[in-house]
Amino acid sequence: MDVPGCAAVEIHKLSFAYPDGQVALRGIDLCVAPGERVGIVGPNGAGKSTLLLHLNGILQGEGTVGVDGLQVTRANLGRVRARVGIVFQNPDDQLFSPTVFDDVAYGPIYMGLSEAEVRQRVTQALQQINMEGYAIRVSHHLSLGEKKRVAIATVLAMNPEILVLDEPSAGLDPRGRRILIRLLERLPQTMLISTHDLRLVKELCPRTVVLDEGQVVADGPTGKLLADEALLLAHGLD
């Protein structure tokens, strides 16, 4: 908590093994400053998704995880989850309410806000993703791109400090991708984006972290890392 450059996310020697014994993370160290945009890349099975799940306490391993000045512990989970918004890979898993309004209102409702505030947050979040008229729509009828944006709105409605996205552009057509990238560019939050889409990382994230077999193998400026072909090849990125 003392290192100034780590005020947003500070992970120290994080290790995690699943109940069946499979080791997913081996001593991860990560430091993210407020407002930074970091791309997290690596082959499948590297532990990217597992790492993300530690940021809001869904998984808890050995080592320390701090977000926005708070330690992620059992006692803090409510507050942590209000500060860290995770957008998962499959929007169908996150849009579980009858209508778009209900889904976006879910977070604010569970934060205990008044009805007026909840409605205001929903309107605001839908504006941020440019989908104002969609409140009464049923999520099943939406296209994949629209679902992904609504999933982001469900998290934005909680006004998080840190936004974490898992494969945001997966399955999108070029236009959907373009819309998504423009949306993410406009958002002020600190961002961690786990993805295979290297072009997205180049466009959005000045910094990249390469994960492989549960360890951080590279961490530096995007331009430099993604130009290093040997590195990319060695870790299944090209």
Binding site: F88, D93, F96, S97, Y106, E115, V138, M158
Partner: protein
């Protein structure tokens, strides 16, 4: 692949559409109860009940054919009551002999069979009208407002939301099975046991994927602050006008019920 949902709801701006879902639900249930309480053979009452539901269909601007079409679909059920034609004692109007057995069609049996057919059909129309004019999310809210337990309503809501996703998976599996079922015309290979086993595996894998999906949904809920309780926004109370509508409709139904008793 994106399965289109079963679009039961037809949008509209009619008076009936704009009624609160709770009112519509109560009227529907009152109607079904009235129909059920009608005695056998009270034809004038059945006609009036038909007029009741038909008026509502007209008022909803849905188009009479839309409702009729959907009810005709479920009507084959009524065939289950066919045995009544021959088992109800009474005056025999027709008699068939099949081998040693004779099947006496009685007038009382005919009356009962037709009564059941009418009642089933009337109830179905009202139910179809309800679902065609009420978006489902409103219906779930109505259930919640009528004090159905939160857990139950949440379960129904989630079920409806993921029904199409899982139905998609089921269709894909069925299609994949079909693509691999290269039997000749009319002749299926493999024993019944084997085919049942394959279907069972499909069911099992669908349940399994559903289970794993539910774990991901749970994570998504946690990430947005879920704490084990089912919470939702408060529901607006029903306006006085709508209460009057509900009272009026129920009153009309009671009158019809009384008429029906009187007209036996």
């Amino acid at each position: 692949m994106h399965s289109s949902s079963l679009d039961l709801y037809r949008a509209g701006a009619s008076f009936w559409h704009r009624l609160d879902a709770r009112v519509k639900l109560i009227i529907t249930l009152a109607y079904v109860l009235t129909v059920s309480l009608m005695p056998v053979g009270a034809w004038p009452a059945y006609v009036l009940l038909f007029a009741f539901v038909l008026s509502l269909v007209v008022a909803s601007e849905l188009g009479v054919w839309v409702v009729l079409r959907r009810t005709l679909l479920a009507l084959p059920f009524v065939l289950a009551a066919l045995p009544l034609l021959v088992t109800t004692p009474g005056r025999v109007i027709l008699s068939f002999s099949v081998g040693r057995w004779s099947l006496p069609f009685t007038s009382a049996g005919l009356e009962r069979f037709l009564s059941i057919a009418c009642k089933s059909w009337l109830s179905m129309q009202m139910a179809v009208l309800l679902t065609a004019t009420t978006p489902l999310p409103d219906l779930w809210i109505a259930l919640r407002a009528l004090h159905f337990p939160g857990l139950l309503v949440a379960t129904v809501g989630l079920m409806w939301r993921y029904l199409f996703v899982l139905a998609d998976e089921a269709m894909r599996m069925l299609r994949a099975r079909e693509a691999r079922s290269a039997g000749g015309e009319g002749r299926n290979g493999g024993s019944v046991m084997w085919r049942a086993r394959v279907t069972g595996s499909m069911a099992g894998s669908m349940f399994l994927r559903g289970y794993e999906r539910s774990e991901r949904i749970y994570n998504a809920m946690l990430a947005r602050g879920y704490d084990g309780t089912v919470r939702s926004l408060p529901v607006k109370p029903v306006s006085a006008t709508q209460r009057w509508v509900a009272a009026l409709a129920t009153g009309v139904l009671l009158v019809l019920l009384w008429l029906g008793q009187w007209m036996r």
